[in-house]
């Protein structure tokens, strides 16, 4: 079974005309920030289980909202700091040739799975409140 959806473009045009470009962008950014904050809080909780010095948790940072492909607004979560966890985070996530079972393997995957539905709800509710 398939369905064809028509008129999304004109609907978006109407929304734009009603609320204005800047207000839409502001609402999007607020929703994204809320979502990202929720995501990192869950991720920190997930990393807390196997923490040692806590550097991996501290160095977790989020970017400001930005456009990709000119249309899509995103926030990126990444690692940055003096202890350079960005260079070893993949070993923690997947293991390596020598280290087969790092503690906390798959922590990011688990976070993604856990936050999928709540994240969508947060975005939806935030947009609904703002527009």
């Amino acid at each position: 079974m398939s369905a064809e959806i028509k008129g999304t473009r004109s609907m978006l045009e109407k929304i734009r005309a009603k609320y204005g470009e800047t207000k839409m962008l502001k609402a999007q950014d607020r929703a994204l920030r809320r979502g990202a904050q929720y995501f990192t809080s869950v991720m920190k909780e997930e990393f807390e289980v196997f923490r040692d010095t806590g550097a991996t948790i501290d160095e977790m940072t989020t970017t400001e909202p930005y456009f990709i492909h000119g249309q899509v607004r995103i926030i990126k979560v990444y690692w940055s700091g003096s202890k350079s966890r960005q260079s070893i985070i993949h070993i923690n996530e997947y293991g390596s040739v020598k280290n087969t079972n790092p503690r906390g393997r798959g922590a990011i995957a688990r976070t993604m799975y856990r936050t999928e539905e709540p994240y969508k709800d947060i975005i939806r509710e935030s947009l609904r409140g703002d527009l």
């Binding site: 993949h90 997947y94 293991g95 390596s96 040739v97 087969t100 393997r105 798959g106 995957a109 799975y113």
Partner: protein
């Protein structure tokens, strides 16, 4: 209840290529540091506990599983060949490869690693089981 790891093991060994290279060399959860590191090794690690998903009339129909399957070998060609065969076999039992993974070489021990992740949602209710 299904013993999913055992099911995966049996299905993998039914594949001729995997059976010739890896009979008795498929491990789950744990990979001994002292074990023979000459030939190819397959390691299956669950990343999260099975998650009950679809429901009908208060009955749980499906369960979602997320596994990481590592192949460690001495030759790059063999690693890719085995990983491809694993991917095909997993596809037949309704597991799909996920984005991400690791393709790595360690020059100190001269071994390759191909790590992939599979998400599957098979029927686990009696009468509908398809595995």
């Amino acid at each position: 209840m299904l013993d999913m790891i055992n099911i995966i093991k049996t299905h993998l060994l039914e594949n001729e290529v995997i059976a010739t290279h890896c009979t008795g060399r498929i491990r789950a959860y744990h990979y001994d540091e002292t074990s023979d590191t000459k030939g190819p090794y397959i390691l299956i690690s669950p990343l999260m506990p099975p998650q009950p998903t679809t429901y009908a009339s208060d009955k749980n129909l499906t369960t979602e599983y997320l596994y990481q399957i590592d192949v460690r070998t001495d030759s790059e060609k063999q690693a890719k060949m085995l990983s491809e065969e694993i991917r095909k076999t997993m596809f037949t039992i309704a597991f799909r490869q996920q984005r991400g993974g690791l393709d790595d070489y360690d020059h100190t021990v001269k071994r390759y690693l191909d790590a992939r992740r599979y998400l599957g949602m098979p029927y686990t209710i009696e009468g509908l089981q398809n595995l």
